[in-house]
């Protein structure tokens, strides 16, 4: 059994959702996580709200801090969950169920977590 990070990528982090949309989206996300957890394959989840987000870059060797939305960076990460899976294919199946994919242009990135990082 390996651990995988399922990373939610939003095409446009500057879109602001209404409280109702947020609530629906939260519920759908929890339904998705609940389905994985019911198979005893869920490890942990981390949400990354856009509010108060900052971006640190360098210009002429100096740190430059800008507020989100994320300017030049087109895609932003909305959060990630960590799951256990027997194979990358199983992890991909989990990723397919993520409600983030309902948004056109959004994507899911599936990455194996390196061993020896404190999780294994």
């Amino acid at each position: 059994m390996e651990a995988y990070a399922l990373i939610m990528r939003h095409e446009d982090g500057s879109k602001i959702a209404s409280p109702e949309q947020m609530e629906t989206w939260m519920k759908q996300t929890m339904d998705w996580i609940g389905g994985i957890a019911a198979q005893n394959k869920f490890v942990s989840g981390t949400g990354l709200p856009f509010a108060d987000a900052k971006v640190v870059t360098t210009k002429n060797s100096k740190a430059v801090v800008t507020n989100g939305p994320f300017g030049e960076i087109k895609e932003t990460i909305g959060g990630f969950i960590t799951v256990k899976a027997d194979s990358i294919d199983e992890a991909v199946e989990f990723a397919k169920g993520c409600p983030v994919l309902q948004g056109e242009g959004n994507s899911m990135e599936v990455r194996k977590i390196a061993k020896g990082d404190g999780i294994h």
Partner: protein, 411 residues
């Protein structure tokens, strides 16, 4: 004769008090002496009362006898120590002053401290529950054996090993200090939760015994609520959970003592006082920022006290199960969530998630599939119920499955 009823009743209420106080007095290394003295005290009552009549204040009589026996035991012990180790001289005068304090306050404190001492991660959970039943609930070895569906011998061995372990670990009978309470409380709550579940979901057919276990778990949890330092959100949440569940005791058995499923229960039999009590403590539990799995389970149990099927009810329960599973996996939560999923999104969706659960050794897994396939594919429904029937361990479970199969055939 009156004492035939009186003595067992006193045994149930007083044995545990005497044992807890004596345990605390003697220390964990002499836990058996405490139990023995408490037992001997009741033996004296059995021998004396039939001839001399029941004393005016039977509990006070028991306390007096227990005190004397304890003092004698201490003297014997000291004498023994002195003969072997002659250097002890000053000790003798002390034994005269030994006071066994059986006041209500000290009984309560002793029980609370014993609860923390027994619920110690050093001993297996089963043994913790066994010791709690013996020392804090005054259950007989045969009763504990019935509750665990095992032999007296097994229980005796289990308790023996547990006492030995507590001695080896030099566990102190004391109330944990400030910051330690939360940590230690976790084990205590887990044991009380399992004690309650043992009663609520037990495979034993003995309904009276099962309700007793639940009542004892509730009583011990309430002990924590009565104490200011342990009257914490997670304790209130656990207590609320127990109240909500036990509100259905009357409704979940029929005249023949068979189990009645939630859906078929007559809700007029639900105990409204217990539901109100549960709601009060659920509310108490929301103070503070500690959010435990007991909060989630109590909230799920709260929704079940509302019989009407509404969309709001089932989608709230589904969210609670999602959070519960993300926090801590258990097969029963996974199965329940999938059932609730069918209530919110329909049976097809639930079937596809149920197939992924990998619980092929679990009878409830097949019962769930049977339930989900009913009216969708009745052949598959019956096949699954038959698998559940083969795995079922108790006759009430088998009866329920038989009824389900029967009702599909009638369609």
């Amino acid at each position: 004769m009156q004492q035939q009823e009186l003595i067992p009743r006193l045994f149930r209420t007083e044995f545990r008090k005497i044992t807890a106080v004596l345990c605390r007095h003697f220390g964990i290394e002499h836990i058996e002496i405490a139990e023995d003295i408490a037992s001997e005290t009741f033996l004296s009552a059995l021998e004396t009362w039939p001839y001399k009549g029941i004393p005016d204040n039977p509990a006070a009589w028991l306390y007096a006898v227990a005190k004397n026996k304890a003092k004698n035991s201490i003297k014997r012990h000291d004498l023994f120590k002195q003969k072997i180790a002659s250097q002890v001289k000053s000790e003798l005068s002390k034994t005269e002053e030994v006071e066994i304090d059986l006041s209500e306050k000290n009984i309560q404190d002793s029980q609370l401290q014993m609860l923390f001492a027994i619920c110690n991660p050093a001993i297996p959970t089963e043994a913790q529950i066994g010791l709690a039943l013996r020392i804090l609930c005054g259950f007989g070895i045969d009763e504990i054996a019935t509750a665990f569906l095992t032999s007296k011998e097994t229980i005796n061995k289990r308790l023996f090993r547990a006492r030995e372990k507590l001695r080896d670990e030099k566990v102190l009978i004391e109330f944990p200090f400030g910051g330690e309470i939360n940590n230690r409380l976790e084990t205590v709550l887990m044991t009380l939760y399992l004690l309650f579940s043992e009663g609520y979901y037990s495979e034993s057919n003995d309904m009276v015994m099962r309700e007793d276990l639940c009542m004892e778990a509730k009583r011990l949890t309430y002990l924590l609520i009565e104490n200011e330092q342990t009257n914490l959100p997670q304790v209130n949440a656990l207590f609320a959970l127990m109240c909500f569940h036990s509100s259905r005791f009357e409704a979940r058995k029929n005249k023949n003592g068979e189990l009645v499923l939630y859906e078929d229960q007559d809700e007029s039999l639900w105990d409204q006082d217990l539901i109100a009590k549960g709601s009060y403590h659920l509310h108490q539990s929301s103070q503070g920022n500690k959010f435990s799995k007991y909060h989630l389970e109590a909230s799920i149990a709260y929704w079940h006290t509302i019989k009407n099927d509404t969309k709001e009810k089932w989608s709230s329960i589904l969210q609670l199960y999602n959070h519960l599973l993300a926090k801590e996996y258990s097969p029963i939560a996974a199965l329940n969530r999938t059932y609730v999923l069918s209530k919110v999104y329909g049976k097809q969706k639930a079937i596809s998630e149920a197939e992924k659960l990998c619980l092929e050794n679990n009878q409830y897994y097949y019962s769930l599939l049977g339930e989900l396939y009913t009216d969708i594919d009745n052949v598959k429904a019956i096949q699954n119920f038959q698998k559940a029937f083969l795995l079922a361990k108790t006759s009430p479970d088998r009866k329920i499955i038989e009824k389900k199969i029967h009702s599909i055939f009638q369609k």
